[in-house]
């Protein structure tokens, strides 16, 4: 079976590389083909890499507190670039200061992210979620196809 491609990177002016290297290792071990665009990556870098590799998901990390500003509009730009239904995950220290995580999560979900992770989440949680989400997406795709056949 061909491996699923996913794009991994640290967004904005953020240069935290340690977690990025660990996520790369963990998702590769988890069975994914990781396209790691590294730190200091613009929204366009994520989108271009996803188009080039026909990726099923974009995993955005942000550790330095500017994540909220850096991630705004990413979903819309994906849509414009034709990346419909691509999974968007975000995780790390997404905002400046100690804020209630639930409200941070809500803000990111409103911005179009499918999954939002608190600081300190194990990579395993993300891997499990990604497998679930991809299976669901596939099922949905089959269902749509079946529906076409019938109709």
């Amino acid at each position: 079976m061909m491996k699923t491609n996913i794009v991994l990177g640290v967004i904005g002016a953020d240069c935290h590389a340690v977690g990025n290297k660990v996520l790369d290792y963990a998702f590769t071990q988890g069975g994914f083909e990781v396209i790691n665009i590294g730190v200091l990556s613009a929204q366009e870098d994520f989108i271009n890499a996803a188009i080039e590799t026909n990726a099923a998901a974009i995993l955005v990390s942000s550790l330095y507190g500017h994540g909220e500003m850096d991630c705004r509009g990413l979903r819309e730009k994906c849509e414009e670039a034709g990346l419909k239904d691509i999974l968007l995950y975000a995780g790390g220290n997404l905002v400046v200061g100690k804020q209630d995580f639930d409200s941070v999560k809500e803000r990111f979900e409103k911005m179009g992210f499918d999954r939002v992770y608190a600081p300190g989440t194990s990579p395993d949680a993300g891997i499990a979620d990604l497998k679930t989400d991809l299976a669901e997406a596939e099922e949905m795709a089959h269902y749509k196809q079946d529906f076409k056949k019938v109709s």
Binding site: A13, D14, N20, Y25, G38, V39, G65, G97
Partner: protein
């Protein structure tokens, strides 16, 4: 222009300077002679270089937090709080990440949004946007020396502004503010940029104003073997000295094993002194230990345990300064209350340990000699690669992987080496990449890690490294496999 470890000529410096001061509108307010006059009349107790020298003479360890927010008045409030409620000995101005990338336009947008939203949208103080007079406003509002702490590959304009603004210390260096902080900026460029920054400091020194310079010791802050960070610190120290820097603080990030940490600080101080002497520089040398820079526990009580242990290590090592973490570390940028708590627990520990030093033992002596020998293997090769020129040698050393920093984001870093802890928690080389260690050293490192692997009943592997990265956050120093 060809890179060389040689004091910049007056002509080329001032020509470059003209251009640098146009990078952002606030550059035009920098007037060197006016700045020197201003700096000469600031009270002595606000001069960073003097305070560091006195601390070393008195044998005490000073405590300095990290802190910075978007707006001037809020930033002043924060620093005053850390001074009055935290009892900080030295104050920082942590600079935001847009400024670090010279993205002043985005910084300005975030300042505006911070004003509208009434909360800091930046992770630091955008000093270039705020300019010289706001730096002075901050200095006027506090009673302690000020330093800029950032991570800026091209800090030329920033350096001009902060010193003219009365801040008497600057953190950074051509290697330490590139490899851990940038992705695609060449080392040649950043070493050249930091020669400029060091030359600014040198000029002030020549005009009678003492300024402290601090290369950034911990690099990626994650399992960096002491000999690698010491090699970087010594190189940056020598490069700075060539440009006329006189008051220098070399740094090291706590790894967690007391013997190794104390050995690293002492090896750094001794070996740097030897190199300065060999190359004919007269330097006021001091040291700084950074409390644990890796992952923290989410629990505040546990974080206090990590913080206090860092403070104790700094005191027992005899470091001149300790950079303080906070009980909010795991959650990102701390509240000012949490920041002050970190300082208070640190100061309490430092005060209890005043005058106490780790006595030399066989273990400590051996570890110190090992670190020095490893560092020398690296530095010898750097000088060789540069045909005696340290700047050229440093660039070539990173090209060839002779120098290599674990977990660094830079494309100019080979990324071939891997570190891991031995059974006592000391950081060792698991993969040497192209680092030119002698066989004895390699065998010793390998043996220690083989002993750990044996105890844990697994192979030496990257999983061991990953376990070590997350270990402190989970409460231990060595990342042992979970018992199932």
């Amino acid at each position: 222009m060809e890179l060389k470890n040689k004091k910049l000529s007056e002509e080329s410096f001032f020509q470059e300077r003209k251009e640098v001061l146009t990078h952002w509108v606030t550059g035009k307010d920098v007037d060197l002679q006016e700045a020197v006059d201003y700096l000469k009349q600031i009270p002595k107790h606000k001069n960073f270089a003097l305070k560091m020298r006195k601390a070393k003479a008195d044998g005490i360890t000073l405590a300095q937090p990290r802190a910075g927010v978007a707006l001037v008045d809020e930033h002043i409030k924060l620093l005053q709080y850390l001074q009055n409620e935290g009892g900080a000995d030295l104050l920082p101005n942590t600079i935001d990440s847009y400024t670090r990338q010279n993205r002043y336009q985005e910084g300005q947008a975030a300042i505006d949004e911070s004003m509208r939203e009434n909360r800091s949208m930046l992770n630091g103080f955008p000093v270039v946007n705020h300019g010289v007079h706001n730096c002075r406003k901050v200095l006027d509002a506090v009673e302690l020396p000020l330093q800029a702490r950032h991570g800026t590959p091209d800090a030329r304009l920033l350096t001009e502004i902060i010193h003219a603004g009365g801040w008497t210390s600057n953190e950074g260096g051509g290697i330490s503010y590139n490899i851990p902080y940038a992705k695609s900026i060449s080392l040649e460029k950043t070493i050249r940029h930091w020669q400029y920054c060091d030359r600014v400091t040198g000029l002030y020194e020549e005009m009678g104003v003492e300024i402290n310079r601090e290369p950034f010791g911990p690099l990626t802050g994650t399992l960096v073997p002491p000999s690698m960070s010491n090699a970087v610190a010594i190189i940056e120290g020598l490069l700075a000295a060539e440009q006329g820097v006189k008051n220098l603080t070399l740094g090291y990030g706590q790894c967690g094993n007391l013997t190794q940490d104390v050995a690293a600080i002492r090896a750094l101080e001794e070996q740097a002194t030897e190199y300065f002497k060999e190359y004919g520089y007269e330097i006021d040398l001091t040291t700084v230990l950074h409390q644990w820079m890796g992952g923290f526990p989410a629990d505040e009580a546990k974080s206090f345990g990590v913080i206090s242990w860092g403070a104790a290590t700094a005191a027992l090592a005899g470091a001149t300064k300790v950079i303080v973490k906070t009980p909010h570390e795991a959650m990102g940028i701390p509240t000012m209350e949490a920041n002050a708590q970190g300082i208070r627990s640190t100061k309490q520990t430092l005060n209890l340990l005043k005058g106490q030093r780790l006595s030399i033992s066989k273990d400590l002596g051996m570890e110190k000699e090992l670190i020095k020998a490893e560092t020398k293997c690296i530095l010898d090769k750097v000088f060789e690669l540069g045909n005696g020129d340290l700047a050229v040698g440093a660039v070539k050393a990173f090209e060839t992987g002779v120098m290599d920093i674990p977990f660094a984001p830079s494309n100019y870093n080979a990324g071939k080496i891997l570190p891991a802890r031995d059974n006592n928690g000391a950081v060792r080389y698991l993969e040497f990449g192209n680092i030119p260690m002698n066989k004895e050293i390699k065998d010793f490192n390998n043996q220690l890690l083989a002993e750990r692997a044996k105890l844990e009943g697994r192979e030496v592997s990257f999983q061991m490294v990953v376990d070590d990265i997350y270990a402190v956050g989970k409460g231990t120093l060595v990342g042992r496999p979970e018992i199932k």
